[in-house]
Symmetry: C2
Subunit: 351 residues, 2 copies
């Protein structure tokens, strides 16, 4: 390692410890007695004779060489990087989808950059810019409504697959839940159980909240009942505050459906704070089959989303888009599964 000797001959101020020395492809080439090009080929899938390939492998082991990904990306012009921008990493739905995306990406030899926007359009714009600077291969994105609408105008250098939420542009591939149907199922279930004054609490930042509201209103109208939908910021705190208000009103609802698990937490807290028994004073149902929803008493009736399938499908759509850039836009709509628990037990006197 001639390089090291050279370093030790520098002035004291410039001396680096051995551990700071990074060995490059040139060092490996020298150690293996081949050209850097051959090392590069041996490391990748280039055509190299078995003999040289083994020499290179030995030299890599001896030197402890690790390729510099920045250099590789710059030169090869493909970064092998998937961007994943989600609205709220505290929401286990996104954690789970993220894991699935990472799994798929990993198997394809790609890494993923995860960004969390906290439902803030400004941060979405920021991260979109960052993704361009990273020259990502493709993006999987759960945008706020605001950004979803603007996505048409924004020219991105990479394909994007929308998850969980869609704009109305139909410009991007997407994988979403059948939100209207899922929420209608939930409401219909409540009606069958004998509830009549069913309120709905929806997140105001996403198209998902809006679609679930649609399903809510449709199901109630079909049954000849009056919808009463309210929008809040998608946080447990906002939901709890709104509900405490709501449940103090004279004609308070006997059941509440909510559009995600954060809101469901808030709803439970509000009920507890007001000493309302679930479900006898207030039935509750929501989305996402998190572990805790079966741990609370009573267990919560929820729509379970196929989170893994959402992540895997998003990656699959992305691959196919990369392979065939011109193919028509596709939208995969998945169904949720209603898991009935004690929080929506039948009203006394109803079968």
């Amino acid at each position: 390692m001639q390089n090291r000797l050279y370093l030790f001959m520098n002035t004291a101020a410039k001396v680096k410890t051995i551990s700071e020395m990074t060995v490059s492809i040139k060092d490996v080439a020298r150690a293996a007695g081949v050209s850097p090009a051959t090392v590069s080929r041996a490391l990748g899938r280039g055509p190299v004779s078995d003999a040289l390939r083994e020499q290179v492998a030995a030299a890599v082991r001896a030197t402890g060489y690790r390729p510099n990904l920045a250099a590789r990306r710059l030169r090869s012009q493909h970064t092998g990087t998937i961007g994943l921008i989600v609205a709220d990493i505290r929401n286990p739905f996104f954690t789970a989808v993220g894991r699935a995306v990472e799994e798929s990406a990993y198997q394809a030899g790609m890494r993923v950059i995860l960004c969390n926007t906290d439902e803030d359009p400004e941060r979405e714009a920021l991260y979109l810019g960052l993704m361009q600077e990273e020259r990502i291969t493709g993006l999987i994105f759960a945008p706020t409504r605001k950004t979803a609408d603007q996505l048409t105008r924004r020219a991105l250098d990479f394909p994007v697959v929308l998850i969980d939420r869609v704009g109305n542009s139909g410009l991007h591939d997407a994988v979403v839940l059948n939100n209207v149907e899922a929420m209608a199922d939930l409401v219909t279930h409540l009606i069958e159980r004998g509830y009549r004054r069913i309120g709905g609490l929806f997140g105001n930042a996403s198209s998902t909240g809006a679609q679930r509201r649609e399903g809510y209103e449709a199901a109630l109208r079909r049954a000849g009942l009056m919808p009463d939908a309210r929008l809040v910021a998608p946080s447990a705190e906002a939901a709890a505050a709104e509900l405490k208000q709501w449940l103090s009103e004279p004609q308070r609802p006997d059941a509440i459906v909510v559009s995600n698990s954060l809101l469901l937490m808030g709803a439970i807290k509000a009920a507890r704070a007001m000493s309302l028994q679930i479900p006898s004073d207030l039935a509750l149902a929501g989305f996402d089959n998190e572990s805790w929803t079966e741990l609370v008493e009573p267990g919560m009736t929820v729509i379970e989303q196929p989170v893994e399938q959402i992540g895997h499908t998003a990656m699959a759509l992305l691959y196919e888009r990369l392979k065939t850039p011109t193919q028509p836009v596709r939208k995969v709509v998945l169904s949720g599964r209603c898991i009935v628990r004690g929080s929506t037990a039948a009203v006394v006197g109803v079968a």
Copy 2:
């Protein structure tokens, strides 16, 4: 944009759409009528006259230029990247710490790469290698016990700050909870509440589990009581399975402490499955003040960890290490806070 014209003159197979065209610093330089060097300086903190700086800004706007981070990192030899390797992203403790790390990093103009090992030493080795290939600036790492012990031998090209878990090498900066003290507090609380046969369930993959076990045994011995500690894989399923077994034994415990929130979930499930009332049949206490721990009935007594402080402190330690590589190793030990809820209510007949 002469470049574009050139492209359209290529053979059909090579034609790229305009959106695939990436504009480089040369294009901006040409548009601004300056050298690439000046553009680079104007974009950074180099010395540039106000007039030229404005010209460059205008050219950037006009061209939609976005710097190529791979090129910047390669050339400047610093990536501005923090690695964060955690054991289980489904554990909200790590989600929360991760958010705090990202926050600190973001304010310092750095990005973070998050990797999830699922407590698997092989994946830890893999990601450690990846971090080297990314040439990260520094690493924040919650290792398994196995890897923590081997960390001494492994030469890394970047400083590492251990969180949540430490080896016994004392080789790396670290920020950890005072696990012994925290668990001893929990056990002492149970003793004061009248419990006598207090079992302990600990994760077997981390030093954290081991230290909490120490605190558990110390507190019981101090009170002249017999410890009964069992180790399981750190998952709700493993905890539930072990506990179902345990609670079927003739002399079953009247209280169980566990070393993290995943195990706590498993413990609750086991109790429910066996129709044991909490706390009258079995008291329960654990770690991490997750939202659901106060939502279940009864609420769970837990040690709350200062998650944000852990993340911020880890970043602070990393910065200082980068600034002064030779300074002595530091270990920051933070205290937990015991939050008492119904799951450890006093045994009937005890004050």
